[in-house]
């Protein structure tokens, strides 16, 4: 037993069942790790809640217990063990200074406990400040910031162009113009297939159609009329359309040929 039970009062009543290892019980280590933020926090708790005179400590037992504790701590969380060890050293120092007789020359020396009490009280205030900060409304939780959609467009400056670049560009245009002049046949070939499709599409929707209706004399010039005619011949050759005429020089009709 570290402290005589009659010293301890909770809510004015003396506590007779003392926890056996009040300072840092190794058995309850994991509980302490979770609920206390360190030796100051634990000391503060013991002083505030249990009304203990934590500063009046039986040194030898405390030391022994701390060493046991540190042994156990090594396996779990060494850096925390160091923190508690430092605190125990401080408590023992305070105790020893209080036990020593004070020479008259340094009669007005500060109470050795004063510094510890100052630290405890500062820590206590920080603890409350931390809770307050945690409770304060924050952006994204209690505050929603307006963020209307806007397509951000950078203010783009038009690129600079030199005369040389312009000349180079013109040369490229000329070069390409020469190349395209050789491809006229290919283009005509393509447009026959294109006209085949458009004639077929027209016949699909209109059903029977007069031959002359398929030619638009106002558009495209002679080349286009020729290509259109070629397309009709090609369609007939592939058996896709049927061309009919009742008598010589009468109207020629075209229609999509259907499978018999």
């Amino acid at each position: 037993m570290l402290i005589t039970t009659s010293d301890i009062k909770i809510n004015g009543e003396a506590l007779y069942e003392l926890p056996h290892d009040l300072y840092i019980p190794p058995d309850a280590l994991e509980v302490y790790l979770e609920s206390f933020e360190g030796p100051l926090d634990l000391l503060l708790y013991l002083i505030r809640k249990n009304n203990l005179d934590i500063l009046d400590i039986p040194m030898s037992k405390l030391t022994m217990q701390y060493m046991q504790y540190v042994e156990k701590m090594k396996a779990i969380k060494l850096e925390l063990a160091a923190d508690y060890l430092l605190m125990s050293a401080m408590l023992i120092e305070i105790k020893s200074r209080m036990l020593l007789p004070k020479p008259e020359a340094i009669e007005d020396e500060d109470d050795p406990r004063a510094e510890l009490v100052r630290r405890l009280m500062e820590y206590e205030a920080i603890k409350l400040a931390a809770q307050k900060l945690d409770d304060m409304p924050k952006v994204g939780e209690q505050f929603q910031v307006a963020d209307a959609y806007y397509q951000h467009i950078a203010d783009i400056k038009p690129p600079e162009v030199s005369v040389d670049e312009l000349v180079e560009a013109w040369r490229n245009v000329l070069k390409r113009a020469k190349l395209t002049s050789h491809h006229k046949l290919g283009r005509a070939e393509l447009s026959v297939r294109e006209h085949m499709s458009s004639v077929l599409r027209r016949l699909q929707t209109d059903g029977m159609c007069e031959f002359s209706q398929l030619f638009d004399l106002n558009e495209g010039g002679l080349a286009k009329l020729v290509v259109n005619f070629l397309a009709i011949l090609e369609l007939a050759k592939e058996g896709l359309i049927k061309i009919t005429q009742q008598a010589a020089f009468s109207t020629i009709y075209l229609q999509v040929s259907h499978a018999e």
């Binding site: 933020e37 360190g38 030796p39 100051l40 926090d41 002083i47 005179d53 500063l55 009046d56 850096e79 925390l80 160091a82 923190d83 605190m87 109470d111 406990r113 004063a114 009490v117 630290r119 405890l120 009280m121 500062e122 820590y123 206590e124 205030a125 920080i126 603890k127 409350l128 400040a129 931390a130 809770q131 307050k132 900060l133 945690d134 304060m136 409304p137 924050k138 952006v139 994204g140 939780e141 209690q142 505050f143 929603q144 910031v145 307006a146 963020d147 209307a148 959609y149 806007y150």
Partner: protein, 183 residues
Amino acid sequence: MREPENITEMKQILEAALLTAGQPLGLDDLLKLFAGRMERATLRMLLDELKQDWEDKTLELVQVATGYRFQAKPELSAFIARLNPERQPKYSRAVMETLAIIAYRQPVTRGDIEHIRGVTVNPNVMRQLIERDWIDVVGQREVPGRPSLYATTKHFLDDLNLRSLAELPPFEDFAQSEIPLDT
């Protein structure tokens, strides 16, 4: 594009910029909107008017550490929060206590924090606060090892809807009863 000619048009430009910014805009940012044709004093006056214009609407114009921003009225925030039902993870006590020490005792070193809390500072704690952009290093203390000095950022104040550290609850409010030395 025609430059604004009257107060209404100027306020419209300010309003659109602030609504689409998604973060606070400072006076310097807002001055850019008018390409040098605006006095700071006039700008402040326009912002005051804009604030009044929005008084009975769903958003309010507030001033925080880095500038002005529109935000939903607090009474509506609880409803908006329902859009994101998953609760935001809480910071540990170690994180919050470290933040409180930096907020109230800045600039501080890790050593200062360890002295006040009585425990070693876990690097993870500092990392969380730096990643949130709530604290940063503002210098080194000229002692052996030149430890970094930490302070809270303006972003921290923005997130807590504060204009300056002076608006934090006063530290004296947290002082508790004296611990008696004579028992």
